[in-house]
């Protein structure tokens, strides 16, 4: 998937690859992977099925 992560283009097969040290429980319990996705704040990234063109932001 071709996505934008903190403003930079990245190609990944899973959102977990973008969030080392933060993606942890994988099932929406730990909230470690919370990010802004496509303008929506506070999304648990592990619960978001990643698509081409997604914009993920962990810094403001």
């Amino acid at each position: 998937m071709k996505v934008t992560f903190n403003g930079l283009p990245r190609e990944v097969s899973h959102v977990a690859e973008l969030l080392p040290g933060r993606f942890f429980c994988g099932i929406g319990v730990c909230f470690g992977c919370v990010a802004e996705i496509n303008g929506v704040p506070e999304v648990r990234a592990c619960r978001h099925p990643l698509r081409d063109g997604d914009r993920i932001r962990t810094t403001s």
Binding site: E17, F23, F24, C25, I27
Partner: protein, 396 residues
């Protein structure tokens, strides 16, 4: 009869089908996009006459005979079945909050989507669940550096009754023989710095008695499971698992529980409990076969709890600087000498972050000796204030 089931894993699906077949009007609420729960993720169908399945829907409060959903939306019920499952309990060690450490459940979830986050992987924790995780990672081409079981499987030799009643479980384990050659018992990852992983040999209380260094870029860790009991904070429980009677009734009137929220015993026990809960919730006598399967399964679950219990020596794996609470970056040294969970939270901020203590509260309690008061939250999932404000306007 309106039966609402929360959770669409093996227990919830069985409860829903059984209650619908008994004539109830059934609604299943599940936070995932598809039925199946963590175990059958993406490999289950829940299409059944009399069952409405609300996908991608989070429930956040039970108020008398009403279930509150995100949206906001309310579902009135005559009987409620809690089938929300469990998640991995990770124990902290130096480096567990850095890159390259995830829970065994996360590794399994990713593997079901064809993804491995490392090339050289270690699976470390306790319980038979480590084996399918290791097998899934190996199947996807990862190099298995080791599978570390902190307990000794010799404990099963004292569990003849449970084993005899559950021979199919032993057959299941045979499926994982290709990873068993990587299995080391009384062994655990006790630190990770970059790809240098400290692997310790443990005594029977999990105190390290010697260690060596391995190289791995991914450690998958899980020391048993914690139940998701948020919706019924006042229900009676044992070690945080919900107490139920022979009809799967909790101590809360009209509320039943099935599956791993009542104890860890595998998908077959969860499904049997779901059948019993679904029948009882719809006002029927549960089928004898399901009651018998629950009885046998509980023998296994109790034995599993004894053989693969967390032993207190893990507390020596941490240094003063080791993170205990990932959300609020609370270190062991910050925990102080509180005497209650409330005091511990207020003085150290442990368990006060986004996860509301789901990952760290139990560990923090054991590290300090403070009595663990269970996972009791008024609101089960974080809700934007705007949504609560809308709700107030509607109902006042």
């Amino acid at each position: 009869m309106r039966v609402v089931v929360v959770g669409a894993g093996p227990a919830g699906m069985a409860a829903a089908r059984t209650a619908a077949d008994a004539g109830a009007e059934v609604t299943v609420v599940d936070s995932e996009p598809e039925a199946g729960g963590q175990y059958l993720r993406g490999r289950a169908r829940l299409r059944h006459p009399g069952v409405t399945h609300l996908k991608n829907t989070e429930a956040w409060l039970v108020e008398d005979r009403t279930l509150h959903l995100r949206g906001p939306r309310q579902l009135p019920f005559d009987a409620l079945v809690i089938a929300t499952g469990a998640y991995d309990r990770p124990l902290p060690f130096p480096g567990w909050d850095g890159p390259g450490v995830i829970t065994a459940g996360a590794a399994q979830t990713l593997a079901k989507q064809g993804v491995v986050l490392g090339r050289r992987v270690i699976v470390s924790g306790t319980g038979p669940f480590l084996l399918p995780v290791a097998a899934a990672l190996q199947d996807l081409g990862a190099t298995l550096v080791g599978v570390y079981e902190a307990n000794s499987p010799a404990g099963w030799l004292r569990e003849g009754k449970a084993v005899a009643a559950n021979r199919h479980k032993i057959t299941e384990l045979a499926r994982y023989r290709k990873v068993v050659r990587h299995l080391r018992t009384r062994t655990a990852v006790i630190a990770k710095h970059g790809d240098r992983v400290t692997v310790a040999k443990l005594d029977d209380q999990w105190r390290p008695v010697g260690h060596r260094t391995e190289h791995a870029d991914l450690v998958c860790t899980g020391h048993g499971f914690l139940p998701r009991t948020d919706l019924v904070p006042e229900a009676e429980r044992t070690h945080d698992f919900l107490n139920v009677d022979a009809r799967q009734r909790t101590s809360v009137p009209g509320v039943y529980a099935a599956g791993e929220v009542t104890g860890i015993g595998g998908a077959d026990l969860a499904e049997a409990e779901g059948v019993v809960a679904g029948a009882a919730a719809a006002g029927r006598e549960p089928p004898r076969a399901a009651l018998e399967a629950v009885r046998r399964g509980r023998l296994f679950a109790e034995a599993l709890g004894r053989v693969h219990a967390v032993r207190p020596g893990w507390r020596t794996w941490l240094t003063r600087e080791t993170t205990v609470c990932r959300c609020e970056q609370v270190q062991l040294a910050d925990l102080g000498d509180a005497t209650t969970m409330r005091e511990l939270k207020l003085t150290s901020r442990v368990a006060m972050g986004r996860c509301q203590g789901r990952i760290c509260a139990r560990n923090a309690a054991e590290l300090t000796g403070v009595p663990f008061d269970g996972q009791r939250r008024v609101v089960a999932v974080p809700i934007p204030l705007g949504e609560l404000a809308d709700l107030t306007e509607e109902t006042s």
